[in-house]
Amino acid sequence: MAKDLVNTLADLKEKEALGIVQERLSAGEDPLRILDDARRGVEIVGKRFSDEEYFIPDLVYSGEILKQITDMVKPKLTKAAEVKRLGKVIVGTVAGDIHDIGKDIVVFMLDVNGFEVFDLGIDVPVQKFVDKIKETGSGVVGLSGFLTLAFQSMKDTVGAIEKAGLRNEVKIMIGGGQIDDQVRSFTGADAYGKDAMDAVKLAKGWIGG
């Protein structure tokens, strides 16, 4: 059996990967190292997605494997995992829109790529974004939306951030089914991304890493 968790996970071999984790836990290995390997495996998944070698199902499946690994490792953690984070990102589906699949994939990819993500969920009122920026000092905000109604909600959200005097403190990215550069310009966002890895690239470009 291959012992290389990073590549086993990157190749989406679910049973093998879980087997390796079990063995390493039984051997008393530091759970944080196991988690870090798993995270690196998923990072490769993200890279393969960017290279169009992998697709959305692969991302979702890797997330599911990672979740199982995390569940296995968690009870063995003696102290809270202190992972060094690249920066903070706030993500949410804008007011009026309750779609979450795209948003969830973005949250997941930002997370495994080293960002501390604050997921505000769906149908998020504009004030909640403003409050969260104030509370966390987050430098990047990602607005998700699938419907045409989201165009206005995104514009309203960007407007509220501006009105709160926070516009210069944050970079704002948007994404979703009908989003293009015309929508970006309408909303006043800084950039739009066509998929989750675009979100990672944008966030890395803005807050380093």
Partner: protein, 450 residues
């Protein structure tokens, strides 16, 4: 002597469907009276134009125009979506105003909002709608979930109708809990034992479920009468609705509302054989759904919204293994039955064009959202009529000049030689009316084939 329907070829069936559309009837079988000779001429010219665009045999007189909105006609009339869902007469009136203002060659009727009270009676949980989870001015939206569990494939495979009635429906309709208590219908066989099958119908939860069904049926009929009347009136004014109904790609049937997006993704890796079996099993059901709807409405166009086959949703190998074979079977089955499959390529489908172009020529019409129309024309467009693809963002945020410039490009490329219908790429709730008008008016002027 005329050939019997069963003896006709697919070609002859399609031709017969168009001939039937050219002489529209009232529900009682009499000829539909047009409101003016001009209306009759417009109606027949529109049908002929669309027929030519779809069949790819001759170039139409001009590029036909369609507008495929979701809630735009109602918001444009100053109504909330909630009002359109609950006041059927106002809904139909707003839709008539929309048609008379933008004058498309083809429309799909006022049914998009659906009957709000009907959903309430059944306590529908699969969607949130105005007043039930979304704001009055917003459209209904689907609540993703695993309404079929990973371990339930065998149940679905054994008897899809039993699975739907006893498991799926009670999960998505709060008022249909009583269905869980019903035995399979296939146990009703002979004198001995037959009565046992009927005992559950005496139980209060089952009776409550049936009471809800009767109420829901009455409400659906009330709504359908208004929608039918609206279609008839618009036809008499010269504006045909040739939509016959809808069905789905088997992969989307399982992925959208049964297993959900995440569920079906897991199944592709963890139990691919079961998934493939289920896709095969529901394929004839999806064909029957389209054929049945066409028979009920008398219209041949069967809408198939395509979701989870879009570019990044599946790898090429996954698309060819899980998505395309059964979708193709559904389309072939519909064509065989004299219907015209009307799939909508929602999102981006550029990477699929070479695969999906493998369909019988002149038998389908595809709504194209964000796929490059020039590339679509070069591939899929060789065998099929394309509708599209003025974007939601342009209709919503652009200017009439932007729209005209884009339509010109579309007519010059996708419209070349026929096989093209001008229209929006994705169903839309919001748009600037002047942009919608520009799309229609400009096409009628510039889109004339010389």
């Amino acid at each position: 002597m005329e050939k019997k329907w069963q003896e006709m070829t697919a070609d002859e069936k399609q031709e017969a469907q168009f001939q039937k559309l050219l002489s529209p009837k009232l529900p009682d079988g009499k000829d539909l009276p047009f409101q003016s000779p001009e209306a009759e001429a417009n109606y027949k010219a529109a049908i002929t134009r669309i027929k030519d665009a779809i069949q790819l045999k001759k170039t139409p007189d001009r590029v036909p125009v369609t507008i495929l909105p979701s809630m735009f006609p109602f918001t444009h009339a100053g109504m909330t979506v909630q009002e359109a869902m609950y006041d059927y007469d106002r809904c139909a009136l707003a839709f008539k105003k929309f048609i008379l203002e933008f004058k498309p060659d083809m429309h799909i009727g006022a049914a998009a909002p659906g009957p709000g009270k009907f959903f309430e009676i059944l306590d529908y949980k699969l969607y949130s709608w105005p007043g039930h989870g979304v704001a009055p001015e917003h459209s209904y939206q689907c609540n993703e979930g695993e309404y079929m569990k990973a371990e339930e494939y065998d149940l679905l495979l054994m008897d899809p109708s039993f699975f739907f009635r006893n498991f799926y429906l009670p999960r998505v309709f709060g008022a249909l809990q009583g269905f869980q208590m019903l035995p399979p219908l296939t146990g009703i066989l002979e004198m001995y034992g037959v009565a046992f099958n009927f005992i559950p119908y005496a139980l209060p939860p089952v009776q409550a479920t049936y009471k809800a069904l009767f109420e829901a049926g009455a409400e659906a009929l009330k709504w359908a009468m208004v929608m039918g009347g609206s279609n008839g009136e618009l036809a008499s004014l010269g504006f045909p609705n040739i939509l016959g109904g809808f069905t789905k790609a088997p992969f989307d049937t399982i992925g959208d509302t049964l297993r959900g997006t995440k569920g079906i993704i897991m199944d592709m890796y963890r139990q691919p054989d079961k998934l493939l079996q289920a896709l095969e099993a529901i394929t004839p059901i999806m064909i029957g759904m389209g054929l049945g709807a066409a028979q009920q409405t008398g219209n041949p166009l069967i809408f198939i919204p395509l979701h989870k086959g879009a570019d990044s949703f599946l790898s090429d190998a996954q698309f060819k293994k899980f998505y395309w074979p059964t979708l193709k079977q559904v389309m072939l089955g519909l064509i065989e039955g004299g219907c015209i499959p009307f799939p909508a390529l929602e999102g981006h489908w550029g990477s699929r064009l070479k695969v999906i172009q493998d369909i019988p020529k002149g038998k389908t019409v595809w709504m194209v959202d964000q796929t490059d129309m020039v590339k679509a024309k070069e591939t899929l467009g060789k065998n099929a009529c394309l509708i599209g693809n003025v974007s939601s963002s342009m209709l919503n945020l652009g200017t009439p000049d932007d729209v005209k410039a884009y339509c010109k490009k579309l007519i010059d490329t996708a419209g070349k030689g026929g096989g093209f219908i001008m229209g929006n790429g994705a169903f839309f709730d919001e748009a600037k009316p002047e942009n919608v008008k520009a799309m229609s008016d400009f096409t009628k002027e510039y889109g004339v084939y010389k």
